[in-house]
Symmetry: C3
Subunit: 347 residues, 3 copies
Amino acid sequence: MMKILNGENIVDNRFFKRFGSFEVKAIAEAVAGQVYGDESFLVNDLGTLKDAKEDQISFISNQKYLEDFKSSKAGVCLLEEQHLAIKPESMIAIVVANSYEAYAKVATLFYPPQEVESFIADSAVVAKSAKLADGVYIGHNVVIEEDVEIGAGSSIGHNSTILAGVVIGKNTKIAANATISHALIGDNCIIHPGVRIGQDGFGFAPSAKGILKVEQLGRVIVGNDVEIGANTCIDRGAIEDTVIQNGTKIDNLVQVAHNVRIGYSCFIAGQAGIAGSTEIGNGVMIGGQVGFAGHIKIGDRTKIAAQSGVIGELPANSMVGGSPAVPLRQWHRMTAYLKKATTKNES
Amino acid sequence: MMKILNGENIVDNRFFKRFGSFEVKAIAEAVAGQVYGDESFLVNDLGTLKDAKEDQISFISNQKYLEDFKSSKAGVCLLEEQHLAIKPESMIAIVVANSYEAYAKVATLFYPPQEVESFIADSAVVAKSAKLADGVYIGHNVVIEEDVEIGAGSSIGHNSTILAGVVIGKNTKIAANATISHALIGDNCIIHPGVRIGQDGFGFAPSAKGILKVEQLGRVIVGNDVEIGANTCIDRGAIEDTVIQNGTKIDNLVQVAHNVRIGYSCFIAGQAGIAGSTEIGNGVMIGGQVGFAGHIKIGDRTKIAAQSGVIGELPANSMVGGSPAVPLRQWHRMTAYLKKATTKNES
Amino acid sequence: MMKILNGENIVDNRFFKRFGSFEVKAIAEAVAGQVYGDESFLVNDLGTLKDAKEDQISFISNQKYLEDFKSSKAGVCLLEEQHLAIKPESMIAIVVANSYEAYAKVATLFYPPQEVESFIADSAVVAKSAKLADGVYIGHNVVIEEDVEIGAGSSIGHNSTILAGVVIGKNTKIAANATISHALIGDNCIIHPGVRIGQDGFGFAPSAKGILKVEQLGRVIVGNDVEIGANTCIDRGAIEDTVIQNGTKIDNLVQVAHNVRIGYSCFIAGQAGIAGSTEIGNGVMIGGQVGFAGHIKIGDRTKIAAQSGVIGELPANSMVGGSPAVPLRQWHRMTAYLKKATTKNES
């Protein structure tokens, strides 16, 4: 395949503009870390444990990469206490309480998110009644219908469609080729390409004359600091709203049906699906490809293993797995039991 | 998060234009219901059991909302016989055979679907050979290629792409950012944003020289009154057609592979997937995240529980669950057996 | 529903332009087959076993269609040795080693893939710094940002968005309404409509002050001869790249998370999902709706049954099924065991 190397650097400057170099001391201050080694050493870039050069900084967080850590040539590494003793001898360590959090900060130091450029493309179609705050970015071929409101510092990617009446807060980024209708969206959100928000929910009433479509008269309400992954779909409510509270992060290709209410600071991994009118509490962690039945309530801080099928209420702090989902420990026992029973049969 | 209330009304007039107020008598006539209470009472809007005001109408259909019903302040409620005795005293009841069907009708009374505006955007690119009937709506930046035909009253949402030769019937709505190719689509369909119809199926032939792509020479045939959810994908046939018959409703993020044939009036919930050449009968109900193997036949009126994996033929009227799918009762027994066996082990 | 017949032909000339008729002899040469019957017979088109006319050629590959084969009216049929004795008497046979491969070649003979037209739409927005090779096709309303490079013979479908710095090789086809960013894409690839490549991965670090977004500084590297299905999402790496090697074919609605590495010539069926940093070997076959945990390695030539949940490493040549996935035979035993246990209970 094509040549994919970037010369000396791991981060490709075609796509990302680097700031600094930074002294170890400055980095340590940014992450409230303690330095073991030369504080004046100059760090030029980020790198992985495996590929970082001597003038680059890496981090160790996941134990799976311990071998890479031990043989890493990174000049500097963000790490937690327990890894200090086993670091390569020449490596400068910055010891922190949470190395992944520290890495996130250092990544932003070297590669701060791009400022939104104030720009309205000539090819964009913006209704006269739309209210665009100063400093918005409206990409090429964007369509913005009547009465839309977009707050300062927000951006709409090329070829996206914002239908009548939608309200978008400040510093929210809508990526390219997305469609938003019947929605109020907060501040500091990131909506990835191909997201569909606000279309009709899947509501039908059987009748003697066939299937009646039920008019979908609700909205989608998205709080602040919400991230919604590529090609994810969020239907508007039937009459109540579909709601996603502040700080919740949703991955790609997720289905959120009408009237669903998702609490604060949840994580929803790729291809999960939530059926109509289900309520997800706060701080809930949902694995990939999980499915929820409709009209159920999921308690705060519940953790749901990937591919689970949740068909009933779950109290707060539950940990469940399997389809239908059961307490996680029981799910492990069920799997082990079946394995044992059928391994015996084999001999 | 942002303020999300709409003042007195539940339905947001940013997005939906209300018709009427209506007298209870007029509403009862529209739904063939019997009134218990003041027939001349004026209803101003719709509401949920929980939030409706005195001048609003609600409905009780799902038993899960019985408590909300008993304490509801809705002035009027659509309900079935069995709930009449337990209604709040001051509530005017309209008794009907099917309260959800009645609600669907009342919703359309207050909020009739918007008429399609006759409009062709300047920014739309329409091939000279395309035949657009009178009264179509062609949104901004829409691309319509050669020989496309679009029937009267149909609309194509902004930024959508209709490739060469596609035929779309009357009163069919294609939403924004969709892509349609190699397809004949009937009347009164609703195609939601981001839908992909008519792209190549996943057809490859292994060969001594590597993997050969098999040219996909079929089409997608969509009947009348079909609804296709956001970001759903329907591949065209390999040589036979992929077919979706009249009245079938498909939810978001569903995968329909090449040569699949889906019968009349099926319901297919979100994220279900149907592998190549499988035939689904009429009136089949498919839960969310269900998967079907290829080259199998599913009998009429079959019901398939969410997350099931269907790997073999199913006779008409089957009810199945599990992966691989078994008769629903057996699936429940399998789950119960395993739970019991592993609960015992725990004590 | 609407009339869907094409008169005499099965392949619809609205959508596909037929080349030739071809003599049996010419076809047999193209597929290195041996003719049983009249070599000078003229074949006008392709057809299915069930619907082909006397002047058409069909093929038998899947045993499920044996009855259709025995009663087929196709004048000519591509078949393998074992079916020669049971062919309809009047049918001319072309015996080949691999009838599906032969069909693929004959389909390309009658319906060769369309040549890319050299064209740049007036409505396309192409940055001055973009380098477009001669003979590219840039569709209507396409947006091509700064420093993009597109190789000779490649095409970008209408309403697609190619963000800054992306490199696309030769003879690669990007369909309509797609979004590509932070990616290097090879030659001879097919990227279907609605595909999202290069958006941020799902990377967050919990912190005392809430959830920190981790800047996603990697790329997506796609080799040559890769096919990526409609509405599939491939996130860019966190710092390493997300990589898809030459010859891999990915179906619709698949999720590929950040840092995933997929080897050569894999097949990934619809709605499969691969969590972050997982490495898939070469020649791996992945069924529909399969899920992979993150940070695991899957050996070469592994086969994974549909809907499986793979949570650990798999050695080369594994065959697994179930969720969590176990060796395929054991999975069958587990299912059989449970069925037997619960069938007994029923009697």
